[in-house]
């Protein structure tokens, strides 16, 4: 059997986060990846809302069908949106992990989940993203931010709208500016 890849940094699960522009209590648990992921069973998962690593979710989703509204998934940065694909519609929450703020793969993951797979539930950024990335994350479809850094969440809210206008089409704006000029 091939040796499992070494686990990288894991997301924290802070007590408070920003959802839809407001600071709220975090009512989801988050299961980190572990070397024993393959041994986890559905029965062993305590009741209540929980965000599972993609691999665990994939293995257990059949067994957890009755608990659908309380089972979310998190994708690591090397796990692409197409792994969830059209199943996105069945999920109440998808989290995307930023193991380092410079690792920008999650921006594509967010857009694809929203634009290609029609995901409308909570899309949560977890990991070590920065306050200065919030505008980009929001534009890529994220509406929840489980921030691990040292800034207060109130300050983060200030940065949410650094820009009032943008050039490109993205999740928040369906037409690029070049197609909107002259229409206003």
């Amino acid at each position: 059997m091939p040796k499992p890849a070494k686990l990288g940094p894991q997301p924290e699960n802070p007590a408070e986060l920003i959802v839809d522009g407001k600071v709220v209590a975090n009512d989801w648990r988050l299961l980190p990846q572990s070397d024993d992921d393959a041994e986890i069973t559905a029965d062993a998962l305590a009741p209540g809302r929980i965000i599972l690593p993609y691999r665990v979710w994939k293995d257990l989703r059949g067994d957890l069908a009755q608990r659908r509204s309380e089972i979310g998934v998190w994708l690591n940065s090397d796990e692409t949106a197409e792994l969830i694909g059209d199943d996105a519609g069945d999920l109440p929450l998808i989290a995307v992990h930023f193991p380092a703020f410079a690792d920008g793969r999650g921006f594509s993951t967010g857009r694809l989940l929203r634009e290609r797979y029609g995901y409308t539930g909570e899309l949560r950024a977890v990991g070590v993203f920065m306050r200065d990335q919030l505008t980009y994350l929001r534009r890529c479809g994220f509406n929840a931010f489980a921030y691990e850094g040292e800034q207060s969440l109130a300050k983060l809210l200030d940065s949410m709208r650094d820009f009032s206008e943008s050039y490109q089409a993205a999740v928040d704006e369906k037409l690029p500016l070049f197609r909107r000029r002259g229409l206003a």
Binding site: T80, F101, A102, D103, G104, R105, F107, S108, R111, R116, M130, D132, Q133, T135, Y136, L137, R139, C140, E150, Q151, D162, F163, S164, E165, S166, Y167, Q168, A169, A170, K174, L175, P176, L177, F178, R179, R181, G182
Partner: protein, 553 residues
Amino acid sequence: MYRYDDRDRAIIGERVAQFRGQTERYLAGELSEEQFLPLRLQNGLYIQRLAPMLRIAVPYGLLNSTQLRRLARISRDYDKGYAHFTTRQNLQFNWPQLEDVPDILAELAEVEMHAVQTSGNCIRNTTSDPYAGVARDEIADPRPYCELIRQWSTFHPEFAFLPRKFKIAVNGAQTDRAAIRVHDIGVQIVERDGEIGFQVLVGGGQGRTPVIAETIRDFLPERHLLSYLEAIVRVYNQLGRRDNKYKARIKILVKAMGADEFGRLVEAEWEQIKDGADELTPEALAWAKSFFTEPQYRQLDRDASEAALQAQASEDKAFARWLERNTFAHRVSGYRAVRLSTKPTGVPPGDVTDRQLEAIADLAERFSFGEVRVTHDQNVVLADVEQAQLRELWQAARQNGFATPNIGTLTDMICCPGGDYCSLANAKSIPVAEAIQRRFDDMDYLYDLGDLNLNISGCMNACGHHHVGHIGILGVDKKGDEFYQVQLGGSSSENASLAKVLGPSFSRAEVADVIDTILDIYIRERREDELFIDTYHRIGLQPFKEKVYAKAS
């Protein structure tokens, strides 16, 4: 040229405010060095050997006189009274204070300029042909597409944290003057059955691992340009390596999976988005093209204008030389494009003083509709000069130190700032450039050599484009001493090739002698009007190698 409307002004103004806040947080200790790094880089700010360096974006090299005067003022008020034109058609200030940078950006915003994404792991300034719109061999003007790419790539929310920096070049002419084959994406405008489209190349680049780009699409219809670029960058963002910064450029990904497979992934992604919002509708294209219309050319008689010019040239050898080397044929009768040389002997290539920036602004207003283009070989083009005014322009250019008649010759070299400024450099490059300029100061000899690109980089990051110089010089570190490797046979043209290393490196004092020997071989071996690069391709590296190292031993 493109002009901002209220929305562009809002976006750039908000960026200045955002960076002002970031700088304040950094100075207050709220942002760590590591966190501030990508934020300042995406605003063009490096911390260099002696001081910060601020790189200003000059979109596809285009500047107007108002902007030039503002750059001059900034260089006086915030710097040491000079600036540096770069090989991405941008402009750098070498001595700003960190805390002044938000004010500098605010001054730039007033003249519709910025430093957005001039560094960092994001999409950089799109570069193009400095003769865009005026070249006789042009298929279509690349500037409207460059501006659409600029807007698409500016603060692109998905692509601000790519595996590595990302450079796009667009060429609209038969001759490649935009070096598209050494870019992450090269876009070549083509025409098929009367329809404009693009040949798309990916995975070219210089740096430590130079690669010539490969074509993944022969003909992309005009309206799909942005969706195709988005597909390429999306595939790269998801699959490019992030574990090793030296293997993170798209060229490594394309090499690893093969251009065919990479192209297949791009096409599959593009299929899903090609009819989406990024489509360049006829209205959008007409809007973009409306900024790059012809200036008010006068109706001039080609033959009369040419005859008058030749009469002037026959009376004045110095003027005739300048005319031959520093002017370029124009598609409109009675006009020429003119290159102002920033490379007189003894001045670091690309450096200009505040007074010279103002002089360029004045010349542009007097002779060329108030606009100039920065070239990737660090000179400045006045694109629309009446032939009848060339002599007057030449005299004015001479007074300001721009009329060195060396364009395209050995001494018109590309040179990075090197160890005098840059903290990455292994060796100084400016003194090598100067030594070569001093050695080869005989203009008759330079003209006899003809077109010859000599490019100098102070380290393997290749900012001085040494891989694509007909002669390339690379600064290397040998146990703490600065040495120079010589390479031959590179080209960034449509027949792009990478230079080959001649052999063991030389001390700085030896470099000019080695170049001398190489040129002797060329003169001995060339056939009639054969250019250096063609002789090299015919006879290969060996004759050069034998002579250079025979002499050394």
